[in-house]
Symmetry: C2
Subunit: 258 residues, 2 copies
């Protein structure tokens, strides 16, 4: 199944532009009358019939609209400090999209060596990953902000807020990410995870985060690189909600009390 992306629709027709039109018309040689599938990047899939084609633009009539196509039963925001080598961050973004992530926030920590992120490039990678992994939702990439700004903004968020850090001698004991997930109220289906830079968070950042409701967690016994730690968190959340579904299937419905 081949997916195209369009952010340009009036509910009756969708318009493919630029690379998407080029790929549809020039590369795959679709012609007027062909059926194609288009995502809007926000969770909706359109089945459409191509009406007019040029390598620069293609218009298609919507035949069927499926909202929340291939959606997940949770939302996940990953606030991750950029790695020194951006390839590693881009790799994380691709895998996070495949597995299931709604928002990626590049955050800059006190100990971050890299202070900038090319968000446009990340968005292109995520568009491609979403189409490849058959998702109608493309993770949103926020513009970079500091760890302090991020945790400040999150103060009143209703999501489960987790922060993975590595301090050996911390005052606040950390629990495992799975324990934190198991402890979340059944009515909460929204998780935010903050992952620090290679040099970890500063004490002040960690304290500010805890004051703003972040729970310090660890990701098990292995020493993971920043991007691997971030993906570990994505998988922990993915498997957590997968297990909830298993339990529901097995009749353990009491787990969800709402």
């Amino acid at each position: 199944m081949e997916l195209f992306y369009s952010g340009n629709t009036d509910g009756k027709t969708v318009v493919l532009e630029d690379d998407e039109a080029m790929h549809c018309v020039k590369v795959l040689r679709h012609r007027a009358g062909d059926m194609i599938h288009v995502i809007d990047g926000k969770g909706t899939l359109y089945s459409c019939r191509l009406a007019s084609c040029s390598p620069k633009t293609a218009e298609a009539e919507i035949v069927e609209t499926i909202q929340n196509w291939n959606s997940r039963p949770y939302t996940l925001e990953m606030a991750v400090c950029p790695t020194k080598n951006m390839d590693r961050y881009e790799w994380f973004a691709e895998k996070a999209c495949e597995t299931g992530t709604d928002t990626i926030v590049p955050v800059i920590g006190d100990h971050s060596e890299r202070k900038t992120v090319k968000t446009d490039r990340l968005r292109k990678i995520l568009l491609s990953a979403a189409k490849q992994s058959l998702k109608a939702e493309i993770p949103e990439v926020k513009e970079p902000l500091t760890v302090r700004e991020y945790v400040g903004n999150m103060k009143d968020s209703g999501s489960l807020k987790l922060m993975a850090y590595c301090f050996e001698d911390e005052d606040t004991p950390r629990i495992s990410i799975e324990e934190a997930l198991r402890g979340m109220p059944a009515s909460c289906r929204s998780v935010s995870v903050l992952i620090g830079p290679e040099g970890d968070f500063s004490r002040e950042e960690a304290e500010t985060a805890v004051r703003n409701g972040f729970i310090p967690v660890h990701l098990g016994q292995s020493r993971l690189r920043t991007e691997t730690a971030a993906l570990a968190a994505v998988f922990a959340v993915y498997f957590h909600f997968g297990s909830l579904a298993d339990n529901l299937d097995s009749g353990v419905k009491a787990y969800l009390d709402d």
Copy 2:
């Protein structure tokens, strides 16, 4: 903490060779008398004092030997079909090592486009990943064999044998990988996971695997690339045994009945 690797020791001294000696002496400028840490790639860490140095070889006296350094409470073998793009397989190998994997077996399926794997290059990547993630054990890379040969060889293995595949209309219903892990006997601490190629296993391969004791599993609702699916399995096993440890910490010791 900087780790060096040596496969050359008599229990009293270790000898660093080639790249390892070069890195120790030329790059990091260690001199006789300096303390260094050396792994044997099989789980042992040596604290050593450098006795003699040249850029081609360096000899060090063992001061302390720590067996099973940073070891895991389980063993994991990942038999994974090579991806078309080897970068993706190498990426998987690096992350599998970081997270915790004992053996990587490149297996060739009926639908594999790529039939060969440069195992030497994989071994170099794993050596580097093991040192970077502070592991004394370097995952072993087996020489490639076919899926049929592999499942035949595994017939009498005592490990939990899982096979992830994607058939939509399968006869054998699949369970989630976590459900399969939760169902394993508490005395079993060894898991083998078989991951197919981009084109999935053939029916015959899947049937042969099931006849040889492999349990068909799925990895949740997302459509994952081969290398992402393989890493998802590594994380599922990692978190499963991490959760067992959590439960032990919380006093739920009855979980382990042996």
